[in-house]
């Protein structure tokens, strides 16, 4: 059984027992003390509120049916509880000063956390909220209410280890995703299965370094990728990924794709175009490598066509990867043109590139054309005319013998019919 539910149940039972032990006498006292409130000085400014709100019932729900119970133990453990923040500092509206509270306003985080709330208003969540989306996260969705804990606390919703679950409460909830038209669908499930998600849940060293949602998206600055200021906008993705993958980013920047980006060609692929965003897989997985070839082929249509004509291309097309993929020869991130001497496929380096898989390759061997087009004389006249000859041979043989067989079939069937008719007439008139 996972630890989560067990903890929750025991916490709930504990709180209930506590509430029964403390709450009932407190309530009774509150009733008695009703008349002389003005003169009674209480040590805890929240004692009066908890007098009702610690009760399991009937005051655990508002008139509208909203849960309003506060578990004292939980609250005292929370950041606000420890700082002895009074209930009325957050629940600061006038309605709270009268009993029963009439149409109280939600807790006002801004009364203390002014800057954070201001930042929030500009985030994807804040914009959606103000636009009337009642599903979009508010402070409480991520930080909790009466149980707010510092991010450093392992129990905190905003602790690294819990961020995935916190975001997944909405971004991994199909019903909410649908209701709130949350972009990206069930992103949490994708992240969970990605290499980042897998490492996060592993016991390896990378566990504490691997990015969680907020590392790429930010927290109080989450912005949609369409926003140029977003950490995950098309232009900013390389820097965001480069926070951890700085070497890869440098290689990419010096490569053809990075140079195109630098010169303003935004369609040139960045990190997520090839690796995906939430589906980032282990690049050593054959299935991903094979899929990557199709990804390259999405833009490089001519090259993937000629690649598929070779054994390399055919084997990878069947789903196997021992043979060369695009990256084997062109590199994964540098991808320099053949004319650049630093390119893995330049005349200077091609032999050593081939030798990675074919250690005994010589200068003759590397005259193999990994992208020969048999229909183009440019790729060599012998190849071109061999292909033409084979095609003519194929068509010629099949046409001649196909026709031969069809005529023979016709004659064979006609003869058999005639024979049967004769046999029948012989039987009738012997």
């Amino acid at each position: 059984m996972p630890a989560g539910p067990l903890k929750l149940i025991s916490a709930a039972l504990g709180s209930l027992a506590l509430a029964l032990a403390l709450g009932l006498p407190a309530a009774a006292m509150a009733q008695q003390a009703g008349a002389k409130v003005a003169v009674t000085k209480v040590a805890d400014p929240n004692e009066k509120c908890l007098g009702c709100h610690a009760e399991p019932e009937p005051t655990d729900k508002s008139a509208a049916g909203k849960p309003v119970q506060v578990l004292p133990e939980q609250f005292h453990k929370s950041m606000h509880g420890k700082a002895k923040v009074a209930c009325i500092e957050c629940h600061a509206d006038a309605a709270m000063r009268k009993y029963p509270h009439e149409s109280p306003a939600p807790a006002q985080c801004a009364s203390c956390h002014e800057k954070a709330v201001k930042q929030y208003a500009a985030t994807a969540h804040g914009v959606a909220r103000s636009g009337g989306n009642t599903v979009a996260a508010t402070c409480a969705n991520c930080h909790g209410t009466h149980d707010t804990l510092p991010a450093a606390d392992e129990q905190s919703r905003t602790n690294r280890a819990n961020i995935e679950a916190t975001c997944a409460a909405c971004h991994g909830n199909e019903a909410l995703v649908k209701q709130g038209k949350v972009p990206g669908g069930n992103i949490a499930a994708l992240y969970h299965d990605s290499i980042h998600g897998k490492l996060l849940h592993s016991n390896g060293k990378a566990k504490d370094k691997v990015p969680v949602c907020t590392d790429c998206h930010g927290s109080h600055d989450i912005r949609p990728k369409s926003d140029p200021q977003s950490a995950v906008s098309r232009a900013n993705i390389p820097d965001t990924c480069g926070t951890c993958h700085s070497r890869v980013k440098d290689v990419w920047s010096g490569g053809q794709h990075g140079k195109m980006r630098a010169s303003g060609v935004m369609t040139a692929p960045g990190c997520t175009d090839c690796h995906g965003a939430h589906t980032i897989a282990d690049p050593k997985v054959p299935k991903w490598q094979v899929g990557m070839i199709r990804e390259c082929g999405g833009c490089h249509t001519r090259q993937i066509g000629t690649y598929r004509d070779t054994y390399h291309g055919q084997v990878t097309d069947l789903g196997f990867t021992v043979v060369a993929t695009c990256a084997s020869c062109h590199g994964a991130h540098e991808m320099l043109p053949k004319s650049n001497p630093l390119s893995k496929v330049s005349d200077e380096r091609i032999l050593s590139t081939c030798q990675v898989c074919h250690p005994k390759a010589n200068a003759n061997f590397v005259k193999f054309q990994p992208h020969a087009n048999k229909h183009d004389k440019e790729s060599g006249l012998i190849l071109y005319y061999t292909s033409k000859f084979m095609q003519i041979l194929l068509v010629g043989v099949f046409l001649a013998f196909g026709l031969h067989s069809i005529l023979w079939l016709y004659r064979g069937l006609a003869d058999r019919k005639a024979r049967r008719a004769r046999a029948a007439s012989t039987l009738e008139n012997p």
Binding site: L318, V322, F368, F401, R411
Partner: protein, 288 residues
Amino acid sequence: MADQNPAEPVDAAKPVAAQKYYRRFDRIDRVMHSTLMIAFIGCAITGLPPLFSDHAWAAALASALGGFARAALIHRICAVVMITVFVSHVGRIFLAAVRQTGLLATLWGPNSMTPQPQDFVDIVRHVSWFLGKGPRPRFDRYTYWEKFDYWAVFWGMFIIGGSGLVLWFPIQVSAFLPGWIFNVATVIHGEEALLAVGFIFTIHFFNGHLRPEKFPMDLVIFTGRIPEHELKDERPGEYARLVREGRLASLEATPPSRPAILWGYIVGGAAVIIGTVTAALILFSVIR
């Protein structure tokens, strides 16, 4: 002889043992054909997935074979078997020519596989017969389409075998040939494979087994024996010649053994079925 209206194949209805049989292929011929057949299908099944790599059936077949490395191993084993059969056959013909039949009889005449003027006459006459404009040609021991099949294998052995060896031993080949030879070899190997597989699995199967006169199977290559009525009907030239030369009696054989018939029906039948399905897949893939 009823050329235009071949005699009733009443004999076909007779039980196997009640018919007269003549030897057409000896034991070694039969073993070689079966071995070649199995190795050919092995090469076809393991070689087609790369050739049609963009089709779902190809990936499924490659996985079913245990991955491309295993498929490649089977492909090469079958290739070696085919080359061995080919070399043994040529060696055997050569030895027989030197020791018994004589070089001339091997290279020319009714017992030779060499295309001869009569074959071209036969082509024209056979097509005329298809069109109902003449009698069926009086074929001798080897017909023109059988010779075509035979030489197609010969040609294929050099073309597919040669290109296959180039691709199998690239390092050795590149010691004396430039690397673009692998591009050429890939094209040749693939296209010729398509020709060979397509031809065997459609034309050869039709000519040998599936045409109305033979349907569903001609067992002669598995039993080595041809029934008397078939020899008279299908190869009247050979029958008449054997009678004339007084050699007919010496070719008389016992009826085919039960194991040979079973082998022919089961293994030969399986080959025809596998081949026909494969041909259908290829046709479907090429058309799409």
